[in-house]
């Protein structure tokens, strides 16, 4: 059953050195505040799973939290490289980073299989690609009914999943709307979970009968962190800060500018620093 706590307490309790951690949010609702908290609490040797490492893992990798990355697309969308990820892969800075590389289809299927309690995901994929040559976790299986050869990858079963959502009620039920990514699957696939939200409200409010709600009993910790997805976005609250994504290219390009930015904006700050980016829910959603 979800406990509503501070983000610091949630990370303290749920994220341990050496854990396999999935922090999801497909462009939308990326849990940046939680990433900063893990950096402040100096977690080490994490295996980080995420379809698109994005700025959140660029920061965590650059600050030495990760020993391995499991991913499918490692760029700064529409901008270019993730310089900290590249530095780790190409130069081993600040430490060597093992990578396990998939396609999006494989990652999405692996989360779904994890949520479904299956050991593997089966799909039609990787035909003609070199990825199976460099990733021993990509295998082929034969359909016992048709004989078709299909791709298989192990299910994602992270120790902890961390997502950002729009809001939770006081019981800890969580609402997701907009671009949903693989957040629901990640939480259901994980042993433990943390959900940061824009706001904790008495009632989740008007929504579609088929709205995506994660019930409180599927979640470990809920923390209210307004603005906690910045520079990603929260549908109906604030937009993706595309100019920050562009600015990150310069901040992260060199090690010293990166470290200076992290010191000033992460190490010397707390989750409340994200509140400046928060906006009230758009009137149309009321």
């Amino acid at each position: 059953m979800a406990r509503i706590t501070s983000l610091a307490e949630a990370v303290q309790a749920a994220v341990h050195d050496g854990d396999t951690v999935a922090m999801e949010g497909f462009t939308h609702l990326i849990p940046h505040a939680a990433g900063h908290e893990i950096i402040r609490q100096k977690r080490k040797n994490l295996t980080l799973i995420r379809m698109t490492p994005d700025l959140i893992y660029d920061q965590m990798i650059g600050m030495g939290c990760a020993k391995k990355l499991v991913f499918s697309w490692g760029g700064n969308p529409g901008v270019g490289s993730l310089h900290r990820l590249r530095d780790a892969v190409e130069q081993g800075w600040p430490n060597a980073l093992e990578i396990e590389e998939h396609s999006h289809a494989a990652m999405a299927n692996a989360y779904e299989a994890g949520a479904a309690g299956l050991p593997l995901a089966v799909f039609r994929g990787y035909l003609g690609s070199d990825l199976p040559k460099v990733n021993k976790n990509i295998k082929r299986v034969t359909c016992p009914f048709t004989g078709e050869e299909l791709a298989a990858v192990p299910a994602h079963r992270p120790d902890v999943a961390i997502i950002h959502a729009l809001r939770a009620d006081k019981a800890g039920n969580v609402l997701l709307e907009g671009v949903l990514g693989v957040q629901k699957e990640a939480v259901l696939a994980a042993k433990r979970s943390i959900v940061t939200v824009e706001e904790v409200v008495d009632d989740l409010g008007p929504r579609s009968l088929n709205a995506v709600v994660l019930p409180a009993w599927t979640i470990g910790y809920v923390s209210e962190v307004p603005g906690g997805a910045f520079p990603s976005y929260a549908q109906g609250y604030y937009a993706r800060n595309n100019s920050f994504y562009k600015a990150w290219d310069n901040i992260a390009r060199e090690r010293d500018t990166f470290l200076a930015w992290m010191k000033e904006n992460v190490l010397e700050k707390g989750p409340e620093a994200f509140a400046q980016h928060a906006r009230k829910r758009a009137a149309a959603a009321e």
Partner: protein, 257 residues
């Protein structure tokens, strides 16, 4: 006569023209997104655009910087989860055209977006495949849009991220792939289509003012030409206006965030 458009604009316009009103198109970010939306705003108003973030039938007024900008979701018919997108819609065979770009391409339109150099000791670590490995095999056909250059149009790509026509001929069928693969490669200099037998991408149309020498200088393999090579029609004033307005709106929106 001085051309009143840039080679990049010619490329985007030529790519947009390839999309049909009845297509369901899986759109990559960047050049493919500009071309797909130009098509939607000009000759193909009913084209269905799909982005891998799960947005079905999206009609953005500005181009997204990422594949999951709020603009895409807000203007979509509906938005599904990413597992559903890849399982039901892409793998399910419901998408007629995949629109891809890449860092390296060979004459069979195989694409590399993974590494330059050795995988384990890369000279340049590129972003990786994302949706491309399965887009390349599950969409009915593939359009590729890429500016030409000796470093990107190479004899041998360093890594097969997504397959085009493999080593040519019936490579795809031998792997059990049932879709057509790359049917068009649109560059800033020309349009290529696969030779019906060998599947090598051969030039079928050259953009106005471009020479064969220029095409060869910017290609790492010996370029072949169709028996009949057309000249690509110049961008119309309307196509250029729509494209430039779209890009101006986009620049304003991204700067304002």
């Amino acid at each position: 006569m001085m051309a009143n458009y840039k080679p990049n604009e010619m490329m985007t316009v030529a790519a947009a023209r390839a999309l049909r009103n009845e297509d369901v198109c899986f759109v990559g970010i960047g050049q493919p997104s500009a071309a797909a939306n130009l098509a939607r705003l000009s000759h193909a108003p009913n084209v269905t655009l799909i982005y891998e973030s799960g947005t079905l039938g999206t009609k953005p007024t500005v181009l997204p910087l990422s594949i999951g900008d709020g603009e895409l979701c807000e203007t979509a018919l509906t938005t599904v989860s990413v597992p559903e997108m890849f399982r039901y819609w892409l793998q399910g065979g419901r998408i007629s055209v995949g629109f891809l770009g890449g860092a390296q391409i060979d004459k069979y339109a195989n694409l590399n977006t993974t590494v330059v150099g050795d995988y384990n000791k890369p000279k340049v670590r590129l972003p990786g495949g994302g949706g491309a490995p399965e887009i390349a095999t599950s969409c009915g056909e593939i359009f590729i849009i890429m500016a030409q250059g000796k470093r990107s149009f190479v004899e041998k790509i360093d890594f097969f991220t997504s397959i085009g026509h493999g080593s040519g001929g019936d490579s795809r069928q031998k792997l059990g792939i049932k879709t057509k693969g790359p049917t068009r490669l649109i560059t800033d200099l020309a349009i290529y289509q696969p030779d019906p037998e060998t599947k090598e991408m051969i030039v079928t149309s050259i953009h106005p003012g471009v020479t064969r020498e220029q095409i060869q200088e910017n290609t790492g393999w010996t370029v072949r030409y169709a028996a009949q090579v057309a000249e690509t029609p110049v961008p119309t004033a309307q196509e250029l206006d729509i494209l430039r307005e779209l890009q101006a709106r986009t620049a304003r929106a991204h700067a304002a965030a």
